[in-house]
């Protein structure tokens, strides 16, 4: 059974079926989308028992020649680094689909592009051939362009093209770096595992140049300072469910790429860049938090909090310790879950009030207790309250980084305070204080909204009190990557 192909291409089959359904049959279109995204989710969950946590080797490998005359293979496989990402993607896709049920405009196209996007995201995490990886990486761009540009907010068209051009510019340099690696390998291969064995033979300058090419592509996706400017715009303008996908999965592609490709294929370049990476991480953390603090638009605030949280991931990676790496990967998962929930929650209030301005509300906790409860839980998780999932990731990142980058970690801790400040201020303004009578007509969350958010909240608590399971999944692989 080719599980990974099934997971990756089930949404594509769904997308093609949707193309054949007349556009008036919206229920049928939604059902098909759920069935095929569901197949991916179920198949990925079904892989859990078969996934061997005790090895760093690639599992569920599928390999055959795709373009033999250029040495390109169709090569899929998962290890402890990519498997959690695949689970995250299939899970968040279904959650985002539930969040997409409110879409009324051009339903057929929406679900078509959504499923194509899912194919790209899953492919990125499965691919072990650089060209295959690149193809999937780019495959996410076009659907995202349409999803932002057609269904987004007021400045959607600008946001869409900015996102596209920004990420494309990054990834073409990645392509050049990939081609350089290809020609540097005596066997002329794009196989990541093969290439990783050859790194000893490449000189430092070459590795630094290739690293910079790769980093440019990854950093824009992460987004690492100073390449983060596309993110607030894209996140704010995108429809709610797409913001969820952007935050939960697309940003992770960058960090994943850093670990999977940059770190393993250009170790000397990575070493050379470490001081800069640590500094960038600190800037992301502090600057992201300060920017978030300055926002009055809740969605924009959450968007900047993503810049801040990806900074923790980078800091964890820069630590080059098993705790740091584990923290980074764990932070990727928890950020996906928590920020996904935050975007959904902001979407809930926006659907009702048609504003996201923090100061427009007040005392909502009286009127919307369930909403206020879930929002508080998620905000606390996001600012790193112990007992919730966000804390574990941040703690491990700091723990891993502190051994090498004491001062950086010390400054970055200030970022946590700023994060706490802006989340608490938002909660205070929206939920506490005097009730704003203007919103007397607001209703609490509907069943559909609860179905999409409660699982995320539950996972937030679960991973907060029992982080062992996800950590066990990844430990062997990360230790192997660090050469232990």
């Amino acid at each position: 059974m080719n599980m990974l192909s099934l997971i990756t291409f089930a949404p594509l089959v769904g997308a093609l079926i949707i193309l054949c359904i007349p556009k008036e049959k919206e229920k049928a279109i939604q059902t098909v989308a759920f069935i095929f995204a569901g197949i991916s989710l179920i198949a990925s969950l079904a892989m859990i028992p078969g996934f061997d946590k005790g090895t760093h080797e690639m599992q569920f490998v599928e390999r055959f020649a795709w373009i033999p005359s250029f040495g390109v293979q169709y090569f899929l496989g998962v290890d402890g680094l990519s498997f959690p990402m695949i689970l995250l993607t299939t899970f968040m896709s279904v959650i985002a689909l539930i969040g997409s049920l409110g879409i009324e405009k051009r339903v057929k196209e929406y679900f078509f592009w959504f499923l194509v996007l899912e194919v790209g995201m899953l492919g990125v995490f499965c691919a072990l051939d650089l060209i295959l990886f690149y193809v999937f990486w780019e495959l996410t761009l076009v659907p995202m362009y349409f999803l932002i540009g057609v269904w987004g907010g007021p400045k959607k068209e600008f946001a869409a093209i900015k996102f596209f051009l920004y990420t494309l510019t990054g990834s073409v340099f990645m392509l050049l770096a990939i081609l350089a690696l290809y020609f540097a390998a005596p066997t002329h291969t794009f196989d990541m595992l093969e290439l990783a064995k050859l790194t000893g033979g490449w000189d430092r300058t070459f590795q630094i140049l290739v690293f910079l090419g790769l980093y440019f592509g990854m950093a824009i996706k992460v987004p690492a300072f100073p390449f983060h400017t596309w993110l607030p715009l894209a996140h704010v303008e995108a429809p709610t469910a797409i913001s969820v996908i952007l935050a939960a999965v697309l940003l992770k592609m960058g960090v994943y790429g850093l670990l999977r490709i940059s770190y393993t294929l250009t170790p000397l370049g990575f070493q050379w860049f470490l001081p800069a990476l640590a500094a960038i991480a600190v800037i992301n953390i502090v600057y992201g938090a300060l920017c978030a603090m300055a926002q009055t638009d809740m969605k924009k605030m959450v968007a900047y909090s993503s810049v801040n949280h990806m900074g923790y991931c980078l800091l964890g990676i820069a630590g080059m310790t098993s705790a740091g790496f584990a923290g980074a990967v764990f932070q990727m998962i928890t950020h996906g879950i928590i920020t996904g929930a935050l975007f959904l929650l902001v979407g809930v209030i926006y659907d009702r009030a048609h504003t996201r301005d923090v100061s427009a509300f007040g005392g909502l906790a009286v009127k919307l207790p369930v909403y206020a409860g879930l929002m508080s839980l998620t905000c606390f998780a996001s600012l790193g309250l112990p007992g919730l999932a966000g804390f574990i990731g941040e703690f491990l990142c700091f723990l891993g980084a502190f051994q090498t980058w004491k001062w950086h970690a010390a400054v970055a801790v200030l970022g946590i305070i700023a994060t706490a400040a802006f989340f608490l201020r938002m909660m205070q303004k929206v939920f506490l204080g005097k009730f704003n009578e203007k919103w007397a007509g607001l209703e609490d969350m509907t069943a559909r909204e609860l179905v999409s958010i409660v699982p995320l909240a539950a996972l937030t608590v679960l991973f907060g009190v029992y982080p062992k399971w996800p950590l066990d999944l990844m430990n062997k692989t990360l230790e192997h990557m660090l050469g232990k």
Binding site: S69, F70, V150, I161, F164, L165, F173, L175, L176
Partner: protein
């Protein structure tokens, strides 16, 4: 006789062109649409013939002025394919008077025959004669809409530029004769020196005119804008690719760029062509002009493969050429359908196309994405091979300029996509699509998708036919 036998396909095609012209004289005007069919069937028939004899080594050999080898066969196929598709488009192009069908088809076929001679030529005499055959037919074709002032203007500019560049080419040939004592393209008797280099540079510039390389590209937008859309399609593909084949033969195999220190010059021309094409295309509001500049930029990418001067670069050029036929013909076919229906080629004609004809909008989208080099479409594979040849040759700066230009191109390709999918149409009526345009678009889109997802047969085919005879 073996000598002439090698040129059988193009000779047959030229004869068929004359047959079409002759039938036009005796056929009543109301039936003259038959001549389009005769035209595309002739091209398709010869295409089938060339394709079937691809692997047949008895069809290959060296003649006095020409060489029929897998390389030239390959480019003959791309040219014939383009010609057949463009004649199909002509069937659905209302602005062409039916009474001109015979002349039109005959000129297209003659132009194609000229290009087929060009890709086989190993002697500058044949190169020149073939180029003139192509040019003169194209001048007339570009001005075929006699009542359209833009068509006249474009044709005139094309003619003047063409005459100028022919003169440059002839001057180059005369210098070449001076340096080598022959017009035969062979390095053996050539004495390397300033005169030979100057001759080669002038010949390169002469080719550059046909291939729309900067700084010889100024005629392109006007001629493309004014010409009937099927002719624009033809001009943007066939002469360009055939000229690249000729450049590859002269400057790839016979006088390698590296040996004559021309690599830097060609690299600079490539960079200039891409940049000029892309940065001018960004400001266009007429879709035909936009695609004209885009085709200039595409010529720049192709030239990267030649500047690399390696077998991989040559394969890249061949691969990209083949893919380019599909994506450019597909794009122009949709543009023709929309432009004819709206009576205007302004960008605003594409507003809300998704509502008026989703199939056309998607087809154009695929072709544009492929032109931009976004995977998993065929254009990506072509660009990847071309850029990798630059990386392999160590021409980093050229590869960087190339990929940056790809990003710039996305901006204006997506300006069209933006119109098609994000804007609302001024009226919701469906755009009529003729059966032949529909067929042309379908062939193009299937090619773009199929060779993007499964490029191996194409790559293997290209590798097998990259062989050149001296």
């Amino acid at each position: 006789m073996n000598n002439l036998r090698l040129l059988m396909p193009e000779t047959v095609l030229a004869t068929l062109a004359l047959v079409v012209a002759f039938v036009d004289l005796v056929l009543p005007a109301r039936k003259s649409r038959v001549l389009y069919h005769l035209g595309w069937l002739s091209a398709a028939g010869v295409l089938g013939w060339v394709a079937l004899t691809m692997g047949d080594s008895s069809a290959h050999g060296t003649g006095t002025l020409w060489a029929a080898d897998p390389f030239s066969q390959f480019f003959k196929m791309t040219t014939l394919l383009t010609c057949a598709l463009c004649l199909l488009l002509g069937l659905d192009y209302a602005e062409l008077p039916d009474s001109g069908a015979g002349t039109f088809s005959a000129l297209m076929l003659l132009s194609t025959a000229g290009l087929m001679y060009l890709v086989s030529a190993t002697d500058l005499l044949l190169v020149f004669v073939a180029l003139e055959l192509v040019s003169i037919s194209s001048f007339i074709l570009a001005g075929f809409e006699r009542r359209n002032p833009k068509s006249n203007e474009g044709s005139m500019k094309y003619f003047l530029f063409g005459a100028f560049s022919s003169a440059i080419m002839v001057f180059g040939i005369s210098l070449y004769y001076g340096a080598t004592g022959t017009t035969k393209l062979a390095a053996a008797g050539a004495v390397p020196g300033p005169m030979l280099i100057l001759a080669l540079v002038l010949i390169l510039l002469g080719f550059g005119f046909k291939a729309s390389l900067a700084p010889m590209h100024f005629w392109v937008p006007d001629a493309y804008e004014g010409a009937p859309t099927p002719v624009t399609t033809f001009l943007s593909v066939a002469p360009k690719l055939a000229t690249f084949a000729a450049i590859a033969r002269v400057f790839g195999a016979i006088f390698p760029l590296q040996t004559y220190d021309l690599t830097l010059l060609v690299s600079i021309i490539a960079a200039l062509t891409m940049t000029a094409g892309n940065f001018t295309a960004m400001f266009q509001t007429d879709v035909k002009r936009l695609l004209a500049y885009s085709s200039i930029a595409q010529a720049g990418y192709l030239l990267i493969g030649l500047a690399a001067g390696s077998p991989l670069g040559r394969e890249g050029v061949m691969l990209y050429s083949f893919v380019y036929v599909a994506m450019n013909v597909g794009a122009f076919a949709v543009v023709q359908a929309v432009g004819s229906a709206k009576g205007s080629y302004d960008l605003s004609a594409f507003d809300g196309l998704y509502k008026r004809r989703l199939g056309l909008a998607l087809a154009l989208m695929f072709c544009l994405l492929s032109l931009a080099g976004i995977p998993p479409l065929a254009g990506f594979i072509g660009k990847m091979v071309i850029f990798s040849s630059a990386v392999q040759a160590g021409q980093w700066w050229l590869a960087v300029v190339g990929v940056l230009n790809s990003c710039v191109s996305v901006y204006y390709y997506f300006a069209i996509a933006h119109r098609m999918f994000f804007k609302e149409p001024s009226d919701d009526s469906a755009i009529p699509v003729g059966a032949y345009v529909c067929g042309g678009v379908a062939v193009a889109v299937v090619g773009v998708l199929l060779f993007g997802v499964h490029p191996e047969p194409l790559l293997a085919g290209v590798r097998a036919s990259a062989k050149m005879l001296p």
